[in-house]
Amino acid sequence: MKKGYKVTTEDSILQSLTRTGTAFYVFVFTLLVLTAEFLYAWYTQLTTGLIVTGMRSIYNAPNYMGPNVAVGSPWGIYITNFIFWIGISHAGIAISASVRLMDLKKYKVVARMAEVLTLVALPMAGLSIIFDQGRPDRIVNLLIYGRFQSPMLWDLTAITTYFIGTIVYLYLSLRGDIDELARKLPRRERFYKRLAMNYQGTETEKEKHNQTLWWLALAIVPIMVTVHSVVSFVFGLMIARGQWYSTIFAIYFVVGAIVSGVAAVYSLAWIFRWLYKWDSLITDEVLRGISWALRNVLIIYIYLWIAEELTTRYMGSSSDLRVSDYLWFGPYAPIFWTMAIVGFGIPALILLQPVFGKRHFNPALTFAASIILNVALWVKRFTIIVPSLLNPPLYQTGVYVPTLTEVSIMLGTFWLATLLYIAFIKLFPIIDLDVVKG
């Protein structure tokens, strides 16, 4: 900001729309290059088949009669990524809906960041599922022959409902701001006028919007619980493998998703505050409030995790124990213990600090914790899926190593999500303009 130029809070919010620096172009260019690399990897997979990934059937013997049992994992990092993105999407609109339902005015400042996160994350989850299909050209069969007895269809239904709900919710909460932008940014007036769809800004109109949003928020909260429960049912209802068939899965996944989502919202809020110097808008108090929620759900998650491990270790069935041994002492032990200690233990310690007094709250350190937590949760989903698949009863233990192509495609969702998010903040204010109007 130039000196001597008086900045109002509203201008400060709109700076993401009006100012574009060199760093921005460099960042976007890098993302575009990475996206091109992802598109090439995806093209390779589409033309040659899933053989380019590290996934294999349970029994996938070569042409000779042996080795006895060549085992692979039929699902891998694509499904992990799917669960991860669903988890990220989770908190977004849920935080926003809770803010509205419980009238938490203080947190309204992060509500829109959260909503957009959901909107960006859900298509990435859908994309991850499409990557995983052997025949993406037949994906429309899900609509033609879809069977509601399959958990896969529950996913499809819950996610599309959630996505449509999110779009409507975001649009309605954004409409007043769009109308205002039409007046504020005359160069884009036509675009915003079209998008505002004849919004007048009268008191009755505002009242109607608020009412609709309240009811929509009420509907979205149960949907958000459903969405991640059905993701857990994809695994939790399967008797075939060790460590999956368990009642705890739905709760476990929902809580895990809330940890992931709240951590992501914290990361975003901190990044925006640092990027646009919004210390007065996103105050330490707001950040501490989010970290308080994050700490509490994290404690519940760790508790559920310990309960699950104890159930398995104490008297699990042989197939459960085989998977657990593989994780605790086998080839996955380095991943598992690093994830448990560095990925969950250290963030938990950081988040527990403010318990001993407000002055112990460190926004930057908590930001690091929120990033570590999301990485750890990605790995956690991986260790839920792959070890169980690599240890099929009746067969020997297999090996799964993701290929470079597979990793490129998986990472592609991250580049795309970042690009979409950037596109949004260049077109719309990321903080509700009502916040500064009081």
């Binding site: 899933l50 029994y59 013997a61 006895n68 699902w75 052997g134 025949r135 009746l394």
Partner: protein
């Protein structure tokens, strides 16, 4: 009509004839076996467990169990897996979207996936090998044992694995008919089904091996 298979494990030689016969009949590409013979024993194929001289080894030929309560049918999102009235579970690879949920849900690890365009050896585009009634699968779909329904449907033919078994270890027939060979066997011999505790109600019965221990004469010197 309930088509059932009985496999007598004390007769099984572990010769893979059934697997090879199946592979030819059903045009299975390289890497995919609808029928496999697992060794119940050591870590390597055809090796016994235990330490010399107390060693133990049996074979476990395993193909689709054609469950009455099949997990793969339950989870298939597009109903590509269906059960016929005679009990055969088959996979419609013209409809399969390749999500591999059947591979995940099957407790027996049966369905196999075409990760790449199937390669036949010898090349089936030049020679007609196998049964022309079984179409070659496209890339990106699952496939599994069908109890050779192309053979069962045309007449009183049995699946190929029954026909080629040199030890006469495999039997096939209608369990609803009390005079059929399989009904007689199940009535007279003790039979088990794989992972029966899961409640999948498989249609493949195993007669347990009588004497899995290989007696080794040790000459004392």
């Amino acid at each position: 009509m309930k088509l059932t298979m009985v496999i007598d494990l004390s007769r099984c030689l572990g010769c893979w004839s059934c697997a090879v016969g199946c592979k030819l009949e059903n045009n299975e590409p390289i890497g995919i076996w609808w029928n496999r013979i697992l060794t119940n024993g050591g870590r390597e194929p055809d090796t016994p467990s235990g330490s010399y001289p107390d060693v133990k080894m049996t074979y476990l030929p395993i193909n689709c169990q054609h469950c009455d309560n099949a997990p793969c049918i339950k989870v298939c999102p597009v109903a590509a897996l269906r059960k016929r009235n005679d009990g055969i579970v088959f996979l419609d690879w013209g409809r399969c979207i390749g999500c591999r949920y059947c591979l995940i849900a099957c407790p027996y690890g049966i369905p196999a996936f075409n990760w790449s365009t199937p390669v036949q050896s010898p090349d089936s585009s030049q020679f007609q090998i196998g049964n022309p009634a079984v179409p070659v699968r496209p890339v990106g779909v699952s496939e599994k044992c069908t109890f050779c329904f192309q053979r069962v449907d045309v007449g009183n033919l049995t699946p190929k694995c029954i026909e080629v078994c040199p030890a006469g270890a495999r039997f096939f027939g209608d369990l609803d008919d009390p005079n059929s060979q399989v009904s007689q066997l199940i009535q007279t011999k003790p039979t088990v089904r794989l992972r029966e505790e899961l409640g999948t109600e498989p249609s493949v019965y195993y007669v347990p091996p009588r004497n899995p221990t290989i007696k080794v004469q040790v000459s004392q010197t």
